[in-house]
């Protein structure tokens, strides 16, 4: 009732610029929350797993929807800017995988830590940077989060350690961050992400060993999108049960639609399900915080784009497969359907969020294309930390740059 009066008075005062339909929306009675069933996770060396039901509040639902839509639109804008050659070099997009970055963030605290590989734009956003800073970094401008010096694969934020270009190298780093968490004793955990391709690397197993030996609060997360660049998991791995690869480390797998022909199980709606990811993350974080040591999580997900913008993504998989995932398991669509069907939000309201998100992305893209490049004088900056300024040699002995910490 109070809401309705407030809405009506806003309209009558003329101060509101929202369309009349907003009044109707605000006055409609939405549910405050709804309970959903989520798929059970596959478990390895665990007696029990995350719960199979979860409560989603309207507020959280709207927040997750907005975040996922923002990541989606931001990645699509990056695609556009890359094709216009305004973004150069490498650009690995995560559209399709939004449930992972938003769901993981929903299951942890901002004071927890996260490190991932190069498919990092979504995580950069969920860890707190603005779309402006991210797009401006992609376009190599001084307003970028790394002042234009890092580019797509080298974005950092508070408690977010990038953005790493060399496959798998971030995993031992993540174990190290977890070591720091344990040492500092502040009950923080580190989410250490890698893909199905990196999962076969030796350094991953070394990190598993150390984390288990020293009971580090490290959640190893394998974002399994079924393809390591152009190699399908079946051709790359002797065992595709990535959640079991930690052997002595307990693991859980958040399943997702397995599409395409062949002797595979039929589609199940899971790892593209943000609520499933959230619950699994909460479970894993609680496990680590209790001092039991590391845990492994496999998120079965899917990327719509190719490996990077240089890869059309259709030479090793069919367009039909991509289309099937898009139509049956799109994470944003799944959340939207759930919210609308349980009266947590209306279609119009979500459409409005879409419009707002689009505007935010457009504004950010404008900034990212108009902002100037970093000044040449700063080429030598930030080589060392906490050091007095020194001279840096350029292309020959007469070209000098100043280096400032």
């Amino acid at each position: 009732m109070r809401k309705m009066l407030a809405a009506v008075s806003r309209v009558l005062s003329g101060a509101s610029q929202k369309p009349a339909s907003r009044v109707l929306v605000a006055s409609r009675n939405f549910a405050n929350d709804a309970t959903f069933e989520i798929k059970k996770c596959d478990l390895h060396r665990l007696e029990e797993g995350p719960p199979v039901t979860t409560v989603l509040t309207r507020e959280d639902g709207l927040k997750y929807y907005r975040m996922m839509q923002t990541v989606r639109r931001m990645e699509l804008k990056a695609d556009q800017l890359y094709k216009q050659k305004i973004i150069r070099g490498f650009c690995h997009l995560c559209d399709g995988q939004e449930a992972c970055c938003v769901g993981l963030e929903a299951g942890i605290n901002p004071t927890d830590h996260l490190i991932t590989a190069y498919r990092a734009h979504g995580f950069t956003f969920t860890r707190g940077l603005s779309v402006r800073e991210i797009l401006a970094e992609l376009t190599g401008r001084k307003g970028g989060c790394a002042k234009g010096k890092g580019g797509s694969m080298h974005m950092y934020a508070k408690n977010f350690y990038g953005g790493n270009g060399i496959v798998g190298a971030q995993v031992p780093l993540g174990a190290g961050i977890a070591l720091a968490c344990k040492y500092n004793g502040k009950d923080e955990v580190c989410l250490t992400l890698y893909g199905d391709g990196a999962a076969n690397q030796g350094q991953i197993f070394e990190a598993y060993n150390m984390a288990a030996l020293w009971k580090l609060p490290c959640i190893f997360i394998c974002e399994n999108n079924r393809y390591g660049m152009g190699t399908s998991v079946e051709r790359a791995a002797a065992s595709t049960d990535y959640y079991k690869r930690g052997d002595f480390i307990p693991g859980l797998r958040v399943r997702t639609p397995v599409v395409g022909p062949g002797p595979r199980p039929r589609p199940r709606v899971d790892g593209m399900d943000i609520l499933c990811v959230r619950e699994a993350t909460r479970f894993a974080a609680a496990y680590c915080r209790s001092g039991k040591g590391p845990i492994l999580m496999e998120l079965q997900t899917y990327r719509y784009h190719g490996h990077s913008m240089s890869d059309p993504g259709v030479s090793y998989r069919t367009r039909e497969e991509i289309q099937e995932v898009r139509s049956k398991s799109d994470p944003i669509m799944l959340l939207k359907d759930r919210m609308v069907n349980s009266n947590l939000a209306s279609v119009e309201e979500l459409k409005e969020i879409d419009v707002e998100v689009r505007k935010e992305i457009e504004d950010a893209a404008q900034f990212a294309t108009a902002d100037p490049e970093p000044p040449l004088e700063e080429l030598g900056y930030h080589i060392y930390s906490s050091d007095p300024p020194f001279e840096v040699r350029g292309a020959n002995q007469w070209i000098k740059f100043k280096s400032v910490s």
Binding site: G140, N200, T231
Partner: protein, 290 residues
């Protein structure tokens, strides 16, 4: 990745985009069974994750075994800066690999270099690192008739004089050779004739060709894409001082290199982090005092 096909009779190739270093572990063992492996890196930046095997399992083995166990293996892939790939993907490894006894290191510039050097590398009974360049893969060159033979080989350890000159010796390898030739063309209009040497091999370095040229021109500029400290140019300058050519220098030798910074992403910064034609021209003029 398709570059090697056609060069070997019966390739046994498994391609996996992200298992970049695994082949290092299996390749040296494969050769003990009489095979001649060619190990391809997506770029040499990833070789750092496997560099132990390149040095300790490949380079040193013949020596450590007292001549019992040769290692006829080839490591190839793109090296150095590309375009906009930022710090972790732009490093030049010429000096890193060139530092190690037991390895041979070649660095092709044009198409005939690429063909002749990789064939020699495969036929060599030693571990050979072939530092290619991604930006050169798409550049077309005139391919002389003799290069079209299937037995066309370029000897490892021999540089090529790409352009004769009398006023100054400009020594380079890989993509910068093209920039040196561009600089030479510009300077030629001003009456300065540069002798441009394409090293082709980093190790063993062809100092004879470089020294003979310096003894003729009395001036030396080295050009490379890698970082200045402990680089290819630094080695050339040190060796010049040890040999007969030193007394023929009319001015100190000068190096043109990549800037001494991790490769930045923003275009203006990246452009200024690699040797440009203008930097080469400037260095040449400074050396000649013009």
């Amino acid at each position: 990745m398709a570059a090697v096909s056609g060069l070997v009779r019966r390739p046994l190739r498994e391609v996996s985009g992200l298992l970049k270093r695994r082949f290092h572990w299996t390749a040296p063992a494969a050769l003990q069974a009489g095979l001649r492996p060619i190990c391809e890196f997506m770029t040499f930046n990833f070789s750092m994750q496997a560099i132990d095997q390149v040095i300790n399992s490949a380079a040193k083995t013949y020596y450590m075994s007292g001549g019992l166990q040769p290692v006829p293996i080839v490591f190839r892939g793109p090296n150095g800066a590309s375009a906009g790939v930022a710090a972790q993907h732009s490093q030049c490894f010429a000096a890193w690999y060139g530092h190690c006894p037991g390895l041979k290191v070649v660095s092709p510039w044009n198409s005939e270099d690429a063909k002749g050097l990789i064939k020699s590398a495969i036929r060599d009974n030693n571990p050979v690192v072939v530092l290619e360049n991604e930006l050169m893969y798409g550049v077309p060159f005139e391919f002389p008739p003799e290069a079209q033979s299937k037995d066309f080989l370029i000897p490892i350890g021999k540089a090529k004089i790409e352009r004769q000159g009398t006023h100054i010796t400009v020594v380079s390898h890989s993509r910068p050779v093209g920039h040196c030739l561009e600089a030479a063309a510009v300077l030629s209009k001003e009456g300065v004739e540069c002798e441009v040497i394409n090293m082709r091999t980093i190790r063993p370095m062809d100092m004879e060709t470089i020294e003979a040229s310096v003894m003729k021109t009395n001036h030396l500029v080295t050009v490379e894409g890698g970082w200045p400290q402990f680089g290819v140019g630094a080695e050339i300058c040190a060796r010049i001082m040890e040999g007969p050519a030193f007394n023929f220098l009319d001015a100190p030798a000068v190096r043109v290199t990549g800037a001494d910074v991790p490769m930045p992403y923003a275009k203006i910064l990246e452009d200024n982090s690699i040797p440009q034609v203008k930097d080469i021209i400037f260095a040449i003029k400074k050396t000649l005092n013009i």
